[in-house]
């Protein structure tokens, strides 16, 4: 066993740039950090409590006798532990984060401030309704903005994230079909769809069938029409789609789907491209989730929490889930939940979460929306599309852009790895971007483009930031086309070199145990 349990190896050879090693393994501001379980102690604590009264317990004879194994740290050690860890993360606060279909835009700090107002942060979900009128008003105001921006009829606010919203939308569709005694079994999904779409349809009890794309990266309308029939419950469309293209036939698609007695679900992940410019309700959409953590700037937080309200057409609104906030003519707000649902919302398909949804995200999203207003949101869509097209046209001579010929893109630009030589692939370009100080784009998605690179800059990037990114990608793309093998070693400047994912999956180590360190896969 190494004397240093924290993972870094003081004896590691100098890296490719010939930097000298250090005895600590640290490199100036890049500080290594052991696991909590290697530095904490179970009798250490960073919280002070008043002296405890001693008295008999009423724990049903189930007092915990065995040790739990939870190490603690004092406050300074805790702050340092997490601060050091934080510095091993890339973040939108540090630079351009061009993950396609993820909409990594700036997270305004006003949002954080208002979400922490005691009147929002320190309110219990089961408080009597007369004590939470402000919270209900927030939900209601946000709901009205979402309806106005989408041109839809109703909105279910409780889904916890995009995929949860998809599920909510499909369950509304299922409930509507069943209400008319129509048992349908199939959901059609374009092959370019996010993986969540087919997963959600299966979760909702449907069989999934793919519909092909045409050469221009759009849904093949004729193939779709040919497949529609009395067994199809819904079509799940992403618009703008995952190739960064608007579906110009959207209205025709909706009309065909409706004529066949089915519903149109729209994945709203890419709403940022059209917010304030186009209303999905005008295109015949029946249900669409809105990722508040994308278009409306609530922070991604390293992978959640998200928030996925679902806007609904008039046909689907009666089936939306409980609970929801309703406004009454006297200006008061009420939570419609199981108790009164029988009178006020009798066709609800049920309940999706324990409480009211992601209140902390609602306050942030409302602050964002109010800050922009109708004019600012329109500008958001325009600038996000402008930034993406600027990248598309600035890179199309060095990277294959499969759909560039057919015209402008929306909020994201897609490229392929065609023309890379010497076994260099998309992942090598992506990892080299890390060394240049950028987060890579979405890689190998959508599946319909070979070695896909999906770049979504968002509207919160300046022209200078885009120019620097373009310069970096151009340089790396030229190396990739020349078959520069050093790209395969990238990244060399990140906190870690490429990690062995095969090993991690073959012998999963998911919790800390005192054990031999992992060995590289052969």
């Amino acid at each position: 066993m190494t004397a240093n349990p924290s993972g870094w190896r003081p004896s590691s050879p100098a890296n490719a740039q010939g930097e000298a090693t250090t005895v600590t393994g640290n490199r100036a501001l890049m500080l290594e950090e052991p696991l909590l379980f290697e530095i904490g102690k179970t009798d250490q604590t960073g919280v002070d409590f008043a002296d405890l009264p001693t008295r008999a317990t009423r724990l049903g004879g189930l007092e915990r006798s065995r040790a739990i194994g939870l190490p603690g740290l004092s406050e300074p050690e805790t702050v340092r532990h997490y601060t050091r860890l934080s510095r091993q993360n890339y973040a939108i606060d540090l630079g351009l984060f061009p993950l396609g279909s993820c909409t990594m835009k700036h997270n305004p700090r006003l949002n954080e401030k208002v979400a922490r107002l005691p009147g929002f942060a320190d309110v219990h979900p089961l408080q009597p309704q007369e004590t939470v009128q402000g919270a209900l008003q927030v939900i209601n105001e946000l709901a009205f903005w979402l309806l106005d921006l989408t041109g839809m009829y109703g909105v279910a606010m409780s889904p916890k994230a995009g995929a949860h919203g998809e599920l909510c939308g499909l369950l509304c569709i299922r409930a509507a079909l069943e209400a008319r005694g129509d048992k349908r079994e199939v959901v059609l999904v374009p092959e370019s769809a996010h993986g969540t779409n087919p997963a959600t349809a299966a979760f909702a009890g449907y069989r999934v069938e793919n519909i092909p794309a045409n050469a221009a990266g759009r849904v093949n309308l004729e193939a779709l029409k040919a497949r529609l029939g009395p067994d199809v419950a819904a079509v799940m469309i992403t618009n703008p789609n995952t190739c960064g293209l608007f579906e110009p036939d959207m209205k025709a698609i909706s009309d065909a789907v409706h004529a066949a007695g089915a519903f149109v679900y729209c994945d709203g992940a890419n709403f940022n491209a059209i917010v304030g410019k186009v209303r999905p309700g005008d295109l015949g959409i029946d249900a669409m989730h809105i990722n508040l953590h994308k278009t409306f700037s609530t922070p991604h937080g390293g992978g959640g929490p998200g928030s996925g309200p679902v806007v609904l057409s008039e046909a689907l609104s009666p089936y939306g889930p409980l609970p929801f906030a309703a406004k009454y003519p006297d200006g008061t707000y009420k939570i419609v939940e199981e108790e009164t649902a029988g009178e006020e919302h009798p066709n609800a398909f049920g309940r999706m979460v324990a409480f009211h949804g992601q209140m902390g995200m609602f306050t942030r999203a409302l602050a964002y929306i109010l800050s922009h207003g109708a004019d600012g949101l329109k500008q958001v869509a325009e600038d996000s599309v402008l930034n993406a097209n600027y990248i598309l046209r600035s890179l199309e001579d060095v990277l294959d852009a499969p759909f560039a010929k057919s015209g402008p893109c929306m909020h994201e630009a897609i490229f392929s790895d065609r023309g890379f030589e010497g076994g260099i692939s998309t992942i090598d370009l992506a990892k080299a971007l890390i060394d240049e100080g950028f987060h890579p784009m979405t890689m190998y998605f959508p599946l319909v483009v070979h070695g896909a690179m999906l770049v979504e800059p968002t509207e919160t990037e300046s022209k200078a930031s885009l120019d620097q990114f373009i310069m970096a990608v151009r340089s790396i793309a030229q190396r990739a086309k020349a078959g520069d093998q050093s790209l395969k070693a990238a990244p060399v400047h990140a906190p870690r070199r490429r990690l062995d994912e095969t090993l991690a999956a073959r012998k999963p180590i998911l919790t800390y145990r005192v054990q031999e360190p992992a060995q590289a896969a052969e």
Binding site: R58, L59, F120, H300, H439, R497, P508
Partner: protein, 452 residues
Amino acid sequence: MRYLPLSDADRSEMLRVIGAGSIDELFKDVPEEARLQGPIHGLPMHASEMAVERHMTALSRKNMVAGDVPFFLGCGAYRHHVPASVDHIIQRGEFLTSYTPYQPEIAQGTLQMLFEFQTQVARLFGCEVANASMYDGSTAMWEAILMAHRITRRNKTVISSGVHPHYVNVAKTLAQFSEDALATALPELDAEPDTGRLIGKIGQETSAVVVQYPDILGRITDLTPIAEAAHAAGALLIAVVTEPVALGAIKSPGEMGADIVVGEGQSIGVGLQFGGPYVGLFACREKHVRQMPGRLAGETVDAEGKRGFVLTLSTREQHIRREKATSNICTSSVLCALAFTAHLTLLGEKGLRQLASLNHARACEAADRLAAIPGVELVNDSFFNEFTLKLPVEARPAVHALVERNVLGGVSLGRLYPGVEALQNGLVVAVTETVTDDDITAFEAALKEVVQ
């Protein structure tokens, strides 16, 4: 507009590079008739930071703040003190504004934190492994039912009468669309839950038994006989923990034989927030890990042999498996998981045990004083920091009458179980370390008036 860096000069220059005459040319794929001209009519225009803050502050003041009054609500969300450093840590931009760690070389902070979180959750629950979090406790419970279905290849689930009714409703809702049959029951205002009746429902077709610990009325039951009965029938035991602080005082479900333990992590680090975002906890036996939903951080090494962490076993997930995935969940609740793990790191085992003792001591004191009010009975024999009172009057109006006396005095069972006559006088009262002697005195005085 303060969040938009492009100037008009930038826009013109960029349009020139693109070769477009106007921004509208970039929207040419949008059919003319669907394109809006100008900002959407009737909506307000952009506003200053000061104006927005003023509006939001005014809305926030229309709520009664839990910390401003004697406060005794629980039933799935608990008010605990969160150390100031926790909120500082989760506001580090590198955590707050990062994405799901798909590029592990530049996401080791989130990945190591999640690995530590998984370890803490597994140890707290007495399980071998845990995932990187779920949406919340209620969705975690439904995912556990589906997981048991996959493992046992059976689809009948027995849910104890002590499980939070909202959690049960989530499961009932989703079971309509899967092939799962749920046997549910209503609780009764008894000192002990009827474990015998629950065990009697377990059969050879049962996939899982779901038990909340402590239960919705605050009662604490030994899970061992339920686990034995479930295992004897080839079924799994799923335990649901809505107040994980309790596990600083009482045995973990894993110790008593639970196969899957899920929970709501809100009470450690996250705060009330009117119900969300919260953080679902999910732990199980190692042999079942490939059937577990959600994200997982795992240990590995990098090209230089240094220890590092990655998202792993993603072949279970929707972005690879599409319609064959174990779950459709894409996002977890990582920032709330960070709040949970940072708070639990500050506490450590010593602090968690102290916190739990303090909660229990406060709850014992409050229970005795409230049950001494004429006509008020304490239902529970056992409890941790939450217990049920049987009032001589209906509890639902009593809660409103308490609000008029500036006390947030618990959750009425009438709200949770509308129309169930036998439960209408039940009031569930939670007492955490944040409750002072004065709070208990005020509640006692107000309740005395209300029940008279």
